[in-house]
Symmetry: C2
Subunit: 207 residues, 2 copies
DNA sequence: GTCTATATCGAGATAGAC
DNA sequence: GTCTATCTCGATATAGAC
């Protein structure tokens, strides 16, 4: 049994090693998917030997699961931050900006997540049906309250979230298509996407 | 060299066989990605033997490339249909509806395409930079003309297309997440997504 | 054209020395 | 804890009979 699986307490050096492995694994998995990635690739990127990787993790799947678990934490953070007491349109715009910043700054995480969902979420389905569903339900209520109070227009809150997720993550997941279609490659798509999306969503939400 | 690669002319039975193989391949590739799929899976689904598959196609990659080429044709059809002479908002709404219908009726194609783009478009990059880019450039001009004539609001046409692609395809590619988040699984997400998206985009585009 | 049998190879995982 | 060497298996692709 690999060291990291048996106990929670790790020495500093062990913690470092697993972090290096997870960082390399994120690189590889996000580029080639789970099945397209090999332990050898991860080992090379981490500058460790293949058996050494398997000393820290039971098997390839364990690495994948750990990477996904880490990513989910940060992935849901912006949604948590939506606050009922602030101005509704400001809150939504802030959320869009945060999601777009994450797509720009963490494209590997976005692609890895997209890959996992595309394959039917074999490793994160429980989280989708549990933590994510509950969190969304909570924020849906906020949107509904805003609508009821006439602070924003009447919209389907679920589809609002789906649209924000889809449009922001698109710039990370489909970046090769975005850059292929845009003629002027000197301009960063993210710079113009922000204003566009904020305009679109606030126009719809303005009562 | 496999039969189907040497000449263009195929007998009726050969054409049938290759169609059966491509149909099975679409099933398998869209579920497991290129690397996660095996020729055996395709053979089983097509009810043919593995060597028989390789009689019709040189190798696994040739099957993948052929499936992608077929799918791209149908994939771009709705974009072609956008007509400058009709009412702008009607045309955009029609486009959204067609894209959403395709996501509903051809989820395998949508997922396969998403997978290919996520991996960096190894097999369709030339088409993205050629046919797709040209087609988009042409339709971007139509949007710009509509804006200039005051028929629709001023929007960035590229980001408009990106957003339509992202939001519609989301319901096919991320369906497992969509269904996990929605409490009531009896209702079809597509039924409510159509009105939502049409409202969102026409609100933004109304001058 | 289609099959069975098989060569070959890449990759996950382990054994055991140090 | 980390390494080299190796086992093992699954998958691509081919050989050759029918």
């Amino acid at each position: 049994m690999a060291r990291s699986q048996t106990t929670k307490k790790l020495t500093r050096i062990q913690r470092q090693r697993t972090d290096i492995i997870l960082e390399a694994a994120l690189d590889v998995f996000s580029d080639f998917g789970f099945r397209g990635s090999t332990i050898d690739m991860i080992a090379k990127r981490a500058k460790l030997s293949k058996p050494n990787i398997l000393y820290y993790f039971d098997n390839k799947e364990a690495i994948h699961v750990t990477v996904l678990a880490k990513l989910l934490e940060t992935w849901l953070a912006p949604l948590h931050a939506i606050n009922e007491d602030n101005d509704p349109i400001d809150e939504i715009c802030k959320y869009i900006e945060q999601k777009l910043n994450m797509a720009r700054d963490f494209p590997r995480e976005s692609k890895l997540f997209a890959n996992e969902i595309l394959q039917g979420a074999p490793h994160v389905l429980p989280e989708l049906q549990g933590a994510l569903k509950d969190l969304v339900a909570q924020k849906v209520k906020i949107i509904e309250a805003w609508s009821k109070d006439g602070k924003i227009a009447q919209v389907d809150p679920h589809h609002l979230f789906f649209s924000i997720w889809a449009t922001t993550q698109h710039y990370a997941d489909f970046d090769i298509q975005v850059r292929s279609v845009l003629d002027d490659n000197t301009k960063d798509p993210f710079d113009t996407a922000g204003p566009f999306l904020k305009t679109m969503f606030s126009t719809m939400l303005t009562p």
